[in-house]
């Protein structure tokens, strides 16, 4: 039971939200790359990268277990670093990102959820990890 705690209860809500973001980030990246890749290759590759990170995080959270926990930890950290880095870049250097990505302006186009999500994810990993340590 302890190993699966990661993907249960509130963890399952987290999986749902990550799943929605994996889906919409993938769709957005696919559309951008299919229709106007040459306009802003960097921004669109970044969109694709963000989509991959969301997919990896979703799968890792859903699977649970020691390895997945580690993978989830890494992907949530990359996400947090990504949203902060891209957020700062888009605020200070608008020219670098002519078109929106999920992480543009700290995820403003997505109700700042991209900024909050990795923090919640990391907190949940910490909480679920601690509960596992107590149980075993």
């Amino acid at each position: 039971m302890a190993e699966r705690a990661l993907g249960k209860g509130p963890g399952r809500v987290l999986i749902a939200v990550y799943g929605i973001f994996a889906l919409s980030a993938s769709a957005r990246a696919a559309v951008q790359i299919a229709t106007k890749f040459s306009e802003a290759p960097l921004a669109y590759l970044l969109s694709a990268f963000a989509a991959v990170v969301y997919i990896v995080a979703t799968v890792a959270l859903a699977r649970g277990g020691t390895t997945s926990r580690r993978v989830a930890l890494v992907s949530c950290s990359i996400e947090l670093a990504g949203v902060v880095a891209v957020g700062l870049l888009t605020v200070f250097d608008t020219a670098a990102f002519p078109d929106d990505t999920v992480w543009t302006d700290f995820g403003r186009g997505y109700g700042y959820v991209p900024l909050v999500l990795p923090v919640v994810g990391l907190l949940w990993l910490r909480y679920a990890g601690r509960r596992k340590a107590v149980a075993s």
Binding site: K8, G9, P10, R12, V13, I15, A16, V17, G19, I20, L23, S24, A27, R28, A30, V31, A34, T35
Partner: protein, 124 residues
């Protein structure tokens, strides 16, 4: 307007109603009940009707500003209610109801975006 405003409004209202019901269930510490799943099913049906209407409009010569973008939103939004129902069934606790709530709040946002991708064309 090619994508019927009334149809979009119906989807949004249905989704928000289901969302309110899910919120009530979550606050009362209840697992997703049959009504929530029916709500999700109704939202999905309404979405399909909306998209059939859009397809008819496309066949009639109207086009969204970017067909690919429109299609991207269509695929995403159609996946949401089934995804929510599946996860809600897997999680028979209050958190299952929270999942339904999250989905029911996301659908209206996507429908509004869907609507915008089309309105670009009608307004110019």
């Amino acid at each position: 307007m090619p994508v019927n405003g009334t149809l979009s409004a119906i989807v949004i209202v249905l989704s928000l109603l289901a969302g309110v019901w899910a919120l009530v269930a979550a606050v009362r510490d209840r697992a997703p009940d049959r009504l929530q799943l029916i709500g999700l099913a109704l939202v999905e049906v309404a979405l399909v009707v909306l998209l059939v209407a859009a397809a008819i409009a496309v066949a009639g010569g109207d086009r969204p500003a970017s067909s690919v973008t429109f299609l991207g939103y269509v695929v995403t939004v159609l996946c949401l209610p089934p995804l929510g129902a599946l996860l809600a069934r897997l999680e028979p606790t209050r958190w299952g109801s929270v999942i339904v709530l999250v989905v029911c709040l996301t659908v209206p946002v996507l429908v509004l975006r869907l609507h915008q991708t089309w309105q670009v064309v009608t307004s110019g």
